[in-house]
């Protein structure tokens, strides 16, 4: 018996990289299949081949047992395959309904066929939105929707071409817990309706919860397929990284000494109010809270990116004047931002130019750059953080997500910060690199660096933090020590209504 979609012996080569070699894959209607592997394992390439973005060099794709060719995104569409990419493909200025029918607009019959049929568009859109679990005005511009609701628009779009296969690339990486639940309900519903769902994710909890079967890729090879209930975390991680990782998070005890930083009553024009906290040498301070709770905004105010409207910052017991990132860096603060592609890297520049970008003064004399010093600094970080790159001249856009993140971290370590802020440092990063970054944080703390880590992953917050600040709607809702913190306590604080005051 043949599956709905079957891939045999797929290979794809890019210059210098064998992205996929002889990969098999299959998914049947009414099942959710997980596609997992580290960054750079070939998941994205496989998806892009199925989406018609890349063409395979070799291999066969069968739909219901019959061979098909996918050369363009239109081919893929026509075969009933929809891919929901991490960076959603929506036009922000257009409405939900217009996005759903983009390129396939509904028109009246006959002489008016050059015009749009608004009534039917709205009706059909409403139906599809309902199936996708989206409740709003179909004429609302997509740009005004939250990320999770944008994803639902993508699902509705997929349903509008009666897709038989829906591929979701890291759909939960930018969602809050609640939004993730909603997405899972939709996936369940799709499954019941006989749709085949391919679920790409790094989060093992979600994979175990949602998937019926798992395909594992490593370095472009298919290393295993297994029903979810016949495997466990340890086995999966071993398959993905090819080695035993032991415990996922490593946190060594560091000596926590003097207070380095004190933020008093911070407020900014981006909606945070009255946030105070302190940070000590060798400490890892976790910032927890829902997406949009103001965690990032506190850091942006602290780092001088957003305009501070109130409060003061005290460093080493002296008030510090921080009006822009330059002054923050001068005070020994480093900031690894949330979105490495948009805020962290200059994608068109090479590894070396990115690594030295925040410390150009240190690799130059009298304003002239020293090639030798730049190379030396970069080489030391490539080694220290084991950045996988063909060379220092590699343009960073070609690196995998995990290695890109290591480049951003290197850039900040090159400034020898005493205070390092990491905003979602391991989001969208494979398990192996994640562990390396945690190890690095622990080492830095041991060397006396004071670290602030924002994370939406509670297990990460709990594993890494000495102390945890919980935010909600732009305010600090409470603080927990490592010993008293638990998932439940954090969630309770993160969800607490504003009327209950500040803890």
């Amino acid at each position: 018996m043949s599956s709905l979609l079957e891939v045999r012996g797929l290979s794809k080569r890019f210059p210098g990289v064998q992205a996929l070699s002889n990969v098999d894959f299959d998914v049947d209607s009414g099942e959710v299949v997980g596609l997992i592997g580290e960054n750079g394992a070939g998941k994205s390439t496989l998806i892009k081949v199925l989406a018609g973005v890349h063409r395979a060099d070799e291999g066969e794709i069968r739909l219901n047992g019959a061979p098909v060719t996918i050369q363009t995104p239109q081919d893929s569409f026509g075969l009933g395959i929809s891919v929901i990419f991490q960076e959603l493909n929506l036009v922000g200025n257009l409405s939900v309904a217009e996005n759903i029918f983009l390129g396939r607009e509904l028109r009246p019959a006959g002489i008016l066929r050059s015009f749009l049929d608004f009534r039917r568009t709205a009706q059909r859109a409403q139906q599809l939105m309902q199936q996708a679990g989206l409740n709003c005005d179909p004429w609302l511009p997509v740009g005004e929707l939250s990320l999770s609701r944008k994803q639902m628009v993508e699902v509705a779009k997929a349903l509008s071409i009666s897709s038989k296969i829906i591929i979701m690339d890291e759909p939960t990486s930018t969602l809050t817990g609640q939004e993730t639940e909603l997405l899972f309900e939709i996936i369940e519903r799709l499954k019941k309706n006989g749709v085949a769902v391919v679920f790409v994710s790094h989060k093992l909890d979600e994979i175990f919860r949602m998937c019926d079967r798992l395909h594992v890729l490593r370095d472009g090879h298919h290393v295993g397929v297994t029903p979810t209930d016949q495997t466990n975390r340890e086995e999966l991680i071993r398959l993905m990284v090819g080695r035993d990782l032991g415990t996922l998070f490593v946190k060594q005890d560091a000596e926590i000494s003097d207070t380095v930083l004190e933020a008093r009553n911070l407020g900014s024009d981006k909606g945070i109010e009255n946030v105070s906290f302190s940070l000590r040498k060798g400490e890892i301070l976790g910032f927890a809270g829902l997406v949009g709770s103001g965690r990032t905004e506190v850091m942006r105010a602290l780092f001088g990116i957003d305009k501070r409207t109130s409060g003061e910052i005290v460093i080493d017991g002296r008030p510090a004047l921080i009006r822009n990132p330059t002054e923050a860096i001068a005070h020994g603060i480093g900031f690894v931002p949330e979105d490495r592609q948009v805020q962290g890297l200059v994608l068109g520049m090479d590894v070396r130019q990115n690594v030295t970008l925040a410390s150009l003064r240190a690799v130059s004399s009298n304003g002239f750059l020293s090639d030798a010093r730049e190379k030396h600094v970069t080489a030391s970080f490539i080694e220290k953080l084991s950045i996988r790159t063909p060379g220092q001249e590699q343009v960073v856009v070609n690196l995998s997500g995990g290695n890109q993140q290591k480049v951003v971290v290197s850039k900040w370590l090159a400034t020898t910060p005493r205070i390092l802020i990491l905003d979602e440092p391991t989001r969208g990063i494979d398990v192996g690199t994640k562990k390396e970054i945690h190890g690095l944080m622990s080492t830095l703390a041991g060397q006396g660096v004071a670290i602030i880590m924002i994370s939406s992953e509670l297990s990460e917050i709990l594993a890494m933090s000495d102390r945890i600040v919980v935010m909600h709607e732009g305010r600090k809702k409470g603080e927990l020590s490592r010993s008293e913190a638990s998932q439940e306590k954090i969630m309770e604080l993160a969800l607490r209504e504003s009327s209950q005051g500040v803890a």
């Binding site: 780092f303 990116i305 805020q343 890297l345 200059v346 970008l357 304003g367």
Partner: protein, 332 residues
């Protein structure tokens, strides 16, 4: 490339690999186009490949090329400056007035011309960084303002410059006209500035990703201020050299040049979205247009047709480059 000996396969392969590597850079593609153009013109006319003609072509495009050095830095930083043609004209005009009517010394005349260019560059920078006007609009407005000032202060009459000043634009060092030397020197200085200094690196960085650069501690507004000021300065320098060359300053000097200058930079491999480009590329871009103009004259193409042909070549050159880059991207 001719095969001289079939046994030299290995050597040939090495050359081919070197070529493949070079071919990745836009500058190499531009140089090839320029070379092809020169070969064609050498074959079609007997007057193209003469020392006199080549240096006179180089002198003719040196004024555009010097302005293009500044424009190149602006475009790398992610902006654009449309006012350079007007600034070029106005700076020359003020220098001429200072020399002719106010009786200033030659160094003072040169200085005032350069200062005027620099001043307008700073105004552009201020409009863009302080008033947050998009570069396209701000410099489009200044294009008109500065041109209007040139008309207003001269009522359209040309201003002659003293003949002892003319040697600076009309003289030769050996066979090489002075303006070509100025161009080469400025191109060298600013190439080193862009590639070897902290500020140069920052110009590329803000053009590549402004937000990431700001978070990395780069004072983005200061860098922008600097590039527009330098663009004004270079337009001013070019304006002063041009009046020395022509012996007269016209209120219409540099009219419409912003198009040639931007085209030179883009043909030279820079991207209007920023972060990419080289001074050498911009000079080669200006050279392509200069050689083409010269070729059309030598081939007796009617002046009425020349403009259209040049426009067409600009489009073809950029389309070819895009196709080449896309081919590369597909291979990647």
């Amino acid at each position: 490339m001719t095969v001289q000996n079939a046994k030299q396969n290995a050597k040939l392969r090495a050359v081919f690999q070197w070529y493949r590597k070079q071919a990745r850079s836009s500058t190499f593609g531009v140089a090839l186009i320029l070379l092809a153009l020169c070969v064609v013109l050498t074959l079609l006319t007997d007057r193209f490949l003469t020392q006199t003609n080549l240096f006179s072509v180089m002198r003719a495009f040196s004024f555009i090329a010097i302005i293009a050095i500044g424009e190149c830095m602006v475009i790398i930083s992610g902006g654009v400056d449309l006012s350079v043609g007007s600034i070029f004209g106005f700076s020359g005009l003020i220098a001429a007035i200072a020399l002719n009517r106010w009786g200033w010394s030659i160094p003072a005349g040169i200085a005032v011309g350069m200062a005027v260019g620099t001043g307008f560059g700073m105004v552009n920078g201020g409009l863009i960084t302080k008033l947050r006007i998009p570069p396209f609009i701000a410099t489009l407005g200044m294009l008109s303002v500065v041109r209007g000032l040139a008309y207003a202060i001269t009522s359209g009459y040309p201003v002659r410059v003293p003949s002892e000043f003319n040697v600076l634009g009309q003289g030769y060092l050996g066979p090489v006209p002075y303006p070509v030397i100025y161009m080469a020197a400025l191109a060298l200085i600013f190439s080193v500035f862009l590639k070897k200094t902290v500020l140069g690196r920052r110009i590329y960085a803000i053009g590549g990703n402004e937000e990431a650069s700001a978070i990395s501690g780069i004072r983005v507004d200061r860098v922008k201020m600097l590039v527009y000021t330098l663009a004004g300065l270079l337009a001013g320098i070019s304006g002063v050299i041009s009046i020395a060359r022509l012996g007269v300053a016209q209120s219409t000097a540099g009219l419409g040049w912003e198009l040639d200058v931007v085209a030179a930079v883009i043909i030279g491999g820079a991207s209007l979205s920023g972060g990419k480009g080289t001074i050498l590329g911009a000079i080669l871009g200006a050279a392509i247009m200069g050689v083409l103009r010269n070729g059309l004259v030598l081939l007796n193409v009617s002046p009425y047709w020349q403009q259209a042909v040049i426009g067409l070549v600009i489009i073809i050159a950029i389309a070819a480059d895009q196709m080449r880059l896309r081919g590369d991207a597909a291979k990647n």
